[in-house]
């Protein structure tokens, strides 16, 4: 069905995950993410899949760990405090090189904070809130459509690299309704086929000698020399991903841009509104919107800087986190300004416009 439907972001990502072949989903309720779990509880039985409301976020991520070890497309979701609880598990899954999709519908923090949209989990998402050297691919949607489209993308990337893909959404995108068009649902045969790509390493029914195998899913290696090799292999994968999987959107990028904005997700949408307004007034402001937060589109940002650009403006719904990556990208070539909101507040297009005018 290529018809558009009007849907909440949380429901759209759930539906898209089902269509992408996700048949196992484990999660614990939390606002503003609960519609996702509620949708799954309703639809999973209809497609013959499994939904378990786990006793906690920790149990959920470890159920994901187990199911992923069997080579299946599996997902969990939560919001900020719940994602913090999953950090140990995410580190394990990463260490064991397993594919998995995790959705974070970010809310205001730190602590219990509030349940309004925020981007305060950027550091956690991109730097790994868990222990040890690992990376997750981080996708940041800015519309309901994109949120939905990220489900198949996330599963494909997860499978391809045997990596955790984190979709970093927020309360606004999770709660709002927009028209959305879904990709066709995978057939049961296609899903079966997807599982087979993992047969060389995943746990599955076995045979007698001589074809008896013994698959081990783990992240432990007591010999530091061996562990070092394993981690260096992870690094190779990360380097490969940094080469090939960077995604971003250019908005109004042109040679006469005076200011280059960098913003993602909800902050980027609002920035676009402001840019449109300013355009009417004859001012040329460009925006690079990272779609992958890791790997980060550093090169794209560097290239978008032209002779007219006087300043970079990073816009985030936090105290300034992605700004590190922007600064790293431009290596001191230009001053980097910042506009932020915290506590679940969202800046308005008017406020962004005013900020840009101020620094123009």
């Amino acid at each position: 069905m290529a018809d558009k439907v009007l849907m909440k972001g949380n429901e759209a990502i759930a539906e898209a995950a089902l269509r992408a072949g996700c048949r196992l989903y484990f999660a614990y309720p939390i606002t503003p993410q609960s519609e996702l779990i509620e949708y799954m509880s309703k639809m999973m039985p209809k497609v013959g899949g499994t939904f378990v409301q786990s006793e906690s976020e920790i149990a959920a991520i470890n159920m994901v760990y187990g199911a992923s070890g069997c080579g299946k497309r599996v997902m969990t979701s939560s919001s900020s405090p719940g994602i913090s609880l999953k950090q140990e598990g995410i580190s394990y899954i990463s260490g064991a090189s397993l594919p998995a999709v995790v959705v974070n519908v970010v809310r205001g923090g730190p602590g219990l904070g509030d349940i309004q949209p925020a981007q305060g989990d950027y550091y956690q998402a991109t730097r790994g809130g868990g222990h040890g050297d690992y990376r997750n691919i981080v996708l940041a949607p800015s519309t309901v459509q994109e949120f939905a489209d990220m489900a198949p993308l996330a599963f494909d990337l997860a499978d391809k690299y045997r990596i955790v893909v984190l979709i970093l959404s927020d309360g606004l995108i999770g709660q709002m309704m927009e028209p959305v068009e879904f990709q066709p649902a995978k057939t049961e045969e296609e899903i079966e086929e997807l599982g087979k790509q993992h047969e060389s390493w995943c746990m599955h029914p076995n045979e007698d000698e001589p074809n008896h195998h013994h698959h081990i899913i783990n992240s432990l290696e007591l010999d530091p020399n061996v562990l070092s090799d394993l981690v260096l292999n992870l690094e190779k994968k990360y380097i490969e991903i940094e080469k090939t999987e960077i995604r971003f959107e250019k908005y109004n990028i042109s040679p006469d841009n005076e200011i280059l904005c960098v913003a993602y997700g909800t902050a980027a949408r609002i920035t676009k509104s402001a840019i449109d307004e300013l355009k009417k007034e004859g001012k040329s402001i460009g925006l690079i919107r990272p779609i992958t937060l890791w790997p980060f589109p550093s090169e794209a940002i560097k290239q978008a800087i032209n002779q007219n650009v006087k300043k970079i403006l990073t816009l985030e719904l936090n105290l300034g986190q992605m700004i590190d990556d922007v600064r790293l990208a431009i290596e001191g070539k230009l001053p980097v300004d910042f506009m932020g909101r915290v506590g679940g507040l969202v800046f308005s297009p008017e406020e962004v416009k005013a900020k840009i005018e101020e620094i123009l």
């Binding site: 484990f26 378990v52 470890n62 599996v74 599955h204 013994h214």
Partner: protein, 251 residues
């Protein structure tokens, strides 16, 4: 002549990394024997805990996953739900199962997940060097209860079987011990039963092994058995705490 007892096929050829006389080896063998006898090996996935048996994936010759500390029942849930056609077991120590993993075991049991749990209760944290466990006996000295466990301050040992038996869903719960060959023979029957129920998809099965840790208790293996018989068995009573097959089969 015919071999009447030798290494089961469900064990790999690797040497166990356990200390001499450690009962982990015995419980490993019992689980492996059950897999052999029930012809389950090729359709079984096990889960190792974090604890001395963390390397059990090197010992059981079936597919194995290594869980985060305490989370084996959550992994097992994910595995069994992902592959209902396979059989799943976890193998866990007392710190793993009833300290950090309390919520996971209670809820897996409560959901009646279709897998078996083998629980090695040696009243101590073996792997990390002998700290107090939730099952450490009152007065028992460990590296973190240097003056003896003070039950007034930190409570009594937890009895996992009794606790889980308050739940509706579990199918079979038994506590056995490994403190003598006779105990082991009984334990073997319980393990077999659990794995058989597992194979037959009857529900959640749970076997607790009253075990020893000669190294951290600071006793020779035989002395450890004696100590355990005298001190652990009175507190951790052996027996069947739940067996739904009795009603089901009307016996």
């Amino acid at each position: 002549m015919e071999i009447i007892a030798t290494r089961p096929k469900s064990l790999t050829k690797a040497q166990f990394t356990y200390c001499p006389g450690c009962t982990h080896g015995i419980s490993h063998r019992l689980v492996a024997e059950a897999m052999d006898e029930l012809g389950m090996r090729n359709k079984t996935m096990g889960v190792c805990p974090v604890g001395c048996s963390v390397l059990a994936y090197n010992f059981f010759d079936c597919d194995m996953a290594e869980a985060a500390h305490g989370r084996a029942p959550a992994l097992a849930t994910g595995m069994k739900r992902a592959r209902p056609d396979m059989h799943v077991f976890t193998y866990q120590g007392d710190g793993d199962l009833i300290a950090i993993g309390t919520a996971e075991i209670v809820h897996a049991a409560n959901r009646g997940e279709h897998f078996s749990v083998f629980f090695v209760n040696n009243a101590i944290y073996g792997m990390t060097g002998g700290q107090m466990a939730p099952t450490t006996l009152p007065g028992m000295k460990t590296t973190t209860s240097p003056y003896g466990r003070d039950e007034k301050d930190i409570g009594y040992p937890i009895r996992a079987c009794e606790l889980l038996a308050t739940l509706e869903a579990p199918y079979y719960i038994e506590r056995v011990s490994l403190l003598s060959p006779q105990h082991v023979i009984k334990a073997k029957k319980a393990v077999y039963k659990a794995m058989k129920f597992n194979k037959e998809e009857r529900g959640f099965t749970f076997i607790e092994f009253v075990s020893t840790c000669p190294t951290n208790w600071g006793y020779e293996p035989m002395k450890a058995f004696e100590w355990a018989k005298e001190n652990m068995l009175p507190f951790f009573k052996l027996g069947v705490f739940k067996d739904k097959s009795i009603e089901e089969e009307g016996k």
